[in-house]
């Protein structure tokens, strides 16, 4: 590979340059400005993200292209996931406008850090080399650590940031150690060459050292997707960070890390399916169980969603455990729907204000149906969607994941999955119960930002009427999965 191609990485390069522009504008013009100026920066970031999205969408030429001397790959899989990530980022930015109207305004850096971590995620998703994998991962992680701490005056936020940073650094270290072991035992860091050694076309033989490396990388990735037993940070960080940050946490980084997980296991190590499958199955089962039981006793809605996201990660990993393109397709469908559900839920959580102060106890929602029926309705739709009850979108995610599991004869996994979904239905229903069955105590503020309301409505509607026209998402996910396998 002598020539150095960069065109497939154009969206990332554009975004990186755009971020520099944003930083310059931010430092010189915005840093002491009022809410309006910050809103301008947010809008600018949003425009850049949308342009990136357009570049991603039109940069797809059907066949996989390798760039940057083999470090970077652009295929339909990457395009699909990148669009999901960018959509999540745009939604989060949209709903964050509301926070600019609060008395205590958040730092303007939020939008820049968000774009920066999105850039890292895009690199992650397109990584075709252990080096670029690590680079992308660290870029997004570092931005996320800072984002957690943005709410400087809040003790919980600092605590969460420190916790997240310590554990995240540890996980990165483990992942890096795994990478070095793989490099040491196989002599290459490139995915294409690794695939030639361990791929699905070759008989899966692996030295114990490289296997250790593989497992360590998986451990690092499990941390990033907050899969059990590496999930401990999730509830604390979700609770500590400000709402818009948590909204971002629960969506884009999860999707990116899961996509990386999928690519890393099924492409370079596709031939070692029996080796990593057991690990993934265990992690999936444990995540679903912890996710569903852990959430039962939560009083804080963000902690509840944290546990729910652990459970959802378990479900997405079911698709991966299936170990074929059908499974990957299911995972991708689930990821897209998961993103949509979480965006909606967090937009609702952002609306939870009382006397202009954010509140986040589940009991704060009580009797919402009578004071704010539309909000309650959307929240109920999203809760049913998360529980996977038809006709909501969540049902289809569950359907395809379970189909993949049954097709690969992973009966135990499928049964655990549905049982966990029954348990988790309980706490989703509890939220609905509090909104609909309980008496109104102290109503929430009614006025809210137009932008957040739009996000709430869009997310609610997408979840509610997804069933009418679901085929395009399924087809896109299918093409993406086939490009990977």
């Amino acid at each position: 590979m002598t020539e150095f191609i960069i065109i497939p990485a154009l969206p990332e390069i554009f975004l990186a340059l755009a971020i520099m522009v944003l930083v310059i504008i931010g430092v010189f013009k915005i840093s002491h400005g009022d809410g309006k100026k910050r809103a301008f920066l947010y809008k600018l970031t949003m425009i850049f993200l949308i342009i990136t999205g357009v570049l991603v969408f039109y940069g797809d030429h059907g066949t996989p292209e390798v760039a940057m001397g083999g470090m970077f790959i652009l295929d339909k899989f990457a395009v699909f996931v990148k669009i999901v990530i960018l959509a999540a980022a745009v939604f989060v930015l949209t709903m964050s406008f509301d926070t600019l109207r609060l008395k205590e305004k958040p730092c303007f850096e939020f939008s820049i850090l968000l774009a920066l971590s999105v850039c890292g995620m895009m690199v992650m998703v397109s990584a075709n080399d252990l080096m670029s994998l690590y680079m992308g991962l660290e870029l997004q992680s570092l931005s996320l650590y800072v984002m957690t701490a943005l709410n400087r005056t809040n003790e919980k936020s600092s605590e969460a940031a420190l916790k997240y940073f310590m554990l995240g650094a540890l996980a990165s270290g483990i992942l890096l150690y795994g990478c070095s072991l793989i490099y040491g035992f196989s002599g290459t860091t490139n995915f294409t060459r690794l695939e030639a050694i361990y791929g699905s076309d070759v008989a899966g033989e692996i030295s114990i050292g490289a296997l250790m490396g593989l497992i360590l990388v998986i451990v690092g990735l499990c941390f990033k997707v907050s899969a059990v037993p590496f999930h401990m940070w999730t509830p604390d960080v979700y609770e500590g960070a400000s709402k818009q940050v948590t909204a971002f946490f629960a969506t884009a980084p999860k999707v990116a890390a899961l996509a990386l997980f999928v690519r890393f296991t099924s492409q370079p190590f596709g031939g070692l399916l029996p080796e990593w499958q057991q690990v993934v199955i265990f992690v999936a089962i444990a995540s679903m169980i912890v996710g569903s039981f852990g959430a039962l006793a939560q009083h804080n809605i963000k902690r509840l969603i944290a546990y729910s996201s652990i459970g959802h990660a378990g479900f997405i990993l079911i698709g991966l455990a299936a170990g074929n393109s059908e499974g990957v397709q299911a995972s991708l469908i689930y990821m897209a729907i998961y993103m949509m559900m979480n965006i909606g839920v967090f937009a609702c959580i952002l609306l939870m204000k009382r006397h202009d102060e954010h509140v986040e106890k589940i009991s704060d929602l009580s009797g919402l149906n009578r004071t704010n029926p539309m909000f309650a309705f959307v929240m109920a739709v999203l809760m049913f969607s998360m529980a996977g009850v038809p006709p909501m979108a969540g049902f289809f995610g569950k359907f395809f994941v379970l189909k993949a599991a049954l097709h690969s004869e992973l009966y135990g996994l499928a049964i655990t999955g549905v049982l966990a979904s029954v348990v988790s239905a309980y706490y989703y229903l509890r939220v609905i119960k509090i909104m609909y069955f309980d008496p109104t105590k102290d109503p929430l503020d009614k006025e809210a930002g137009r932008e957040t309301k739009i996000v709430v409505l869009v997310a609610g509607l997408l979840n509610l009427i997804f069933f009418i026209f679901p085929a395009p998402l399924f087809d896109a996910a299918k093409l993406a999965a086939e490009s990977l396998m």
Binding site: F395, I415, V418, F437
Partner: protein, 499 residues
């Protein structure tokens, strides 16, 4: 059959949904006019459900009972490329369940006209959505579509029990939802397994493919089906959600629960378990007989000891549904037709009984049997109508209850004398608890002062109950009205299950 240009079946399914949408979006409150909003919601809903009843009558009259296979079929690709389509159609079996639903809906709306006072708009929306979903289940000819409607029907019912129920409504709503949800996820797994094995979810197609599955596969799939349908029927020992749900639900909620939702489970047996898994269905006959006989005898005994009228009727529902499951698994014409007839009859009778309880509750705000007595002195009309429904519940000749029970017992007798004999004891027990209930509530002297001010049925209540009484007697005197159109479908089912 008369070809009708418009997709009439889809119209029947989705008209209530359109109505719900209308009520939800357009019937809005302006400050200080809550009452008129509520009234508008009630009126619109009543109109929508009544028009839907008329539409479904069109189905009845243009239904050709000599035609084999499904009628009013519509098939539109839904999830393209995955062989999952929006495929609906009805046969002689589903026709009457749809009619039962459309008939009971306006009655439910009328019955809740005065008793529901808060959040009327949402209440009406829930009922309309529920109607769409239930009719959808009865007409779905695609497994995914079936499951879709089947499970989605949990949502409105959960809200109906939870928002408008009695004191312990939250507990009852959760129990109802989680019990049923646990059952239906098993059905989901079975559905997915069948889907990727057969490559399609079209029920008529599956009827050709799935019976060829190996015995072992069939047995597991059948058990997964059972997990879902048994909870819904409900069969002993997974019935415990039902008394709670009934006692806590508002009157109309109980009516729709007993009248229609319980039938979804048995309908699942008829539409899916029997024709798709004939081998396993035969294999598990002893299990079903066993559970059903226990249900009939045990729950009748339990009903005998209840102190709450609504709970007593709820337990009697379980016993009656025990007859239904026996009838279904006799696999002969008498049994199957008896079971279907019994379901329809139970749909009218138990609905009527719950409405009667509702009448008493609205006046005295208690459902304790001991708090009543001597009502005949103050409420002669009520006593008469309540008598009709009590007799129908017991299965007195000339009421619909008799035909159903008689046919089921005949069918069971052909298959197994023991089962028939045991099930027949249920009839006797049924007579004991119903008559004793009637005696305690209606006869005797008025002992309590509060009862002296109780007033007889109002016009609206009379209309509702008389309508139901007419149906009960009509079916009892001229059962062929219902049995005629279903003969052919039942024959087909029998051929299919004996493969």
């Amino acid at each position: 059959m008369v070809e009708i240009g418009i997709p009439i079946l889809s119209a029947v399914i989705f008209l209530p949904l359109v109505g719900a949408f209308f009520v939800f979006i357009f019937v809005r409150s302006h400050v200080g006019k809550q009452e008129s909003v509520d009234n508008n919601a009630r009126n619109v809903t009543l109109w929508v459900t009544s028009v839907n009843l008329l539409l479904s009558l069109v189905l009845l009259f243009s239904f050709d009972s000599n035609k084999n296979g499904f009628q009013f079929e519509e098939k539109i690709s839904w999830i393209e490329g995955y062989n999952i389509s929006y495929h609906i159609g009805i046969d002689g079996i589903s026709l009457f369940f749809i009619l039962l639903t459309t008939f009971l809906m306006p009655i439910c709306i009328l019955a809740s006209w005065k008793s529901i006072k808060n959040q009327v708009r949402e209440y009406m929306v829930s009922f309309l959505v529920l109607e769409t979903l239930v009719i959808g289940v009865f007409s779905a000819l695609d497994f995914v579509l079936f499951y879709f409607f089947f499970e989605a029907s949990l949502i409105p019912m959960f809200l109906i029990i939870g928002i408008w129920g009695a004191e312990k409504r939250v507990y009852a709503a959760f129990k109802f939802f989680l019990y049923t949800f646990l059952g239906s996820v098993m059905l989901l797994l079975a559905l997915i397994y069948i889907y990727f094995q057969a490559g399609t979810t079209d029920i008529p197609e599956l009827m050709k493919i799935v019976p060829g599955f190996s015995g072992n596969e069939q047995i597991w799939l059948w058990l997964a089906f059972l997990a879902s349908f048994a909870v819904k029927v409900p069969m002993w020992p997974v019935h415990t959600w039902l008394p709670d749900a009934h006692v806590q639900a508002p009157t109309a909620g109980s009516v729709i629960l007993a009248g229609v939702l319980l039938k979804l489970g048995a309908y699942g047996f008829l539409r899916l378990s029997l024709p798709l898994l004939p081998y396993a269905s035969h294999y598990f006959v002893p299990l079903i007989y066993g559970l059903s006989v226990v249900a009939v005898i045990y729950t009748s005994l339990v009903a005998l000891m209840q102190t709450d009228i609504k709970k007593l009727i709820a337990y009697s529902s379980i016993a009656h549904m025990g007859f239904v499951t026996i009838g279904i698994f006799t696999f002969n014409r008498q049994g199957l037709e008896g079971a279907i007839f019994q379901m329809l009859s139970h749909g009218f009778v138990s609905s009527a009984l719950f409405l009667c309880v509702g009448v008493l509750y609205d006046r005295m705000h208690t459902k304790e049997i001991a708090k009543y007595g001597g009502l005949v002195e103050r409420m002669p009309k009520f006593a008469l109508l309540f008598m009709v429904f009590t007799m129908a519940s017991i299965g007195l000749p000339a009421t619909s209850g008799f035909v159903g029970e008689f046919l089921v017992l005949t069918g069971a007798f052909i298959d197994s004398t023991t089962v028939a004999a045991l099930a027949a004891t249920g009839v006797i027990l049924g007579a004991i608890y119903m008559l004793w209930l009637y005696k305690r509530v209606v006869f005797g002297k008025i002992t309590r002062d509060e009862l002296k001010n109780i007033w007889d049925l109002e016009k609206q209540e009379v209309i509702i109950l008389v309508l139901l009484a007419v149906m009960v007697l009509l079916l009892g005197i001229y059962p062929n009205f219902v049995l005629g159109p279903m003969h052919l479908s039942v024959e087909n089912l029998i051929t299919q299950v004996s493969k």
